[in-house]
Symmetry: C2
Subunit: 166 residues, 2 copies
């Protein structure tokens, strides 16, 4: 009881988290919340993408991509009234059969705490709630093992992910 | 001149093709038209999917999937006022950066004529017109070579296509 109390019961849910209907992730010492709100501050998202070393993309195009993504998932670190975007992922989908997860990022300062795994589990849960049975992604070589541990299968039955280049 | 005349100039564009703003594909003896109209007769689509041996899917879910697909491409064979669905493909997308092509099918009676290639080139052209730079797909082992010839690259830089299973 003392353990649980010290982990959860002493912290109030931040107003901003309540308002945006965020869900607190359990198992983290920090207050980490998951959100599916698509209206993310695009400059804050750009900062996160910069931090993980991605090349910059035009803000207007990013706005459009988020609008037309089926699920936009984000992780927020709260301390008092301060909040910060520390994780991101999104999925395109036909809203019926398949979804593909893109742009999975966890801020370097928050890596190696299990946030990537927690974020992916939330994304999978969201897609399953929507009765999407076929969830796919394209994994860089160094994260294939990470996704495999989450239940993603590389090249199942010889199926190959392929990319078209001009 | 005689050659071109005999191939193209003697056939009128069918009314239905005109009405649906279909484009005739050149290089085929038959009258084959490409359409991006999403309002495909779903039972005719089911017949095509049956013919290529796919397992049946609930019509209501297929309707939803087509609605939320970014591009729905179809090939139609015309003879006089008779028209028949002979090819199909669709793409999901974030409308900005990436698109993934799914459900590519050509009716067995119309295979080995280059229709699959023509269909894919039309899909790529549609997606490029929409300024989508990253076109991906998941290819069954036996069609990897077909897609490679069209410019699709398997596992570029070690990127792996992965699928999640329950």
């Amino acid at each position: 009881m003392v353990f649980w109390k010290s982990l959860f019961s002493t912290t109030e849910v931040p107003e901003a988290a309540k308002k945006a209907k965020m869900r607190r992730l359990v198992g983290f010492a920090e207050q980490i919340y998951f959100s599916t709100d698509k209206n993310i501050d695009l400059y804050e998202l750009e900062e996160l993408c910069d931090a993980v070393g991605w090349s910059r993309r035009p803000i207007a195009k990013v706005r459009k991509a988020l609008h037309y993504s089926f699920v936009v998932g984000s992780l927020w670190y709260f301390r008092g009234s301060f909040q910060r975007l520390v994780g991101f992922a999104r999925a395109t989908s036909d809203h019926a059969f398949n979804a593909t997860i893109w742009d999975v990022a966890v801020h370097p300062e928050f890596q190696n705490k299990g946030l990537g795994k927690a974020l992916m589990l939330e994304m999978i849960a969201e897609l399953r709630r929507a009765e999407i049975s076929n969830i796919s992604l394209f994994a860089d070589a160094h994260v294939v093992e990470f996704y495999r541990r989450l239940g993603f299968n590389p090249d199942p039955e010889g199926i190959k992910g392929m990319f078209w280049y001009n």
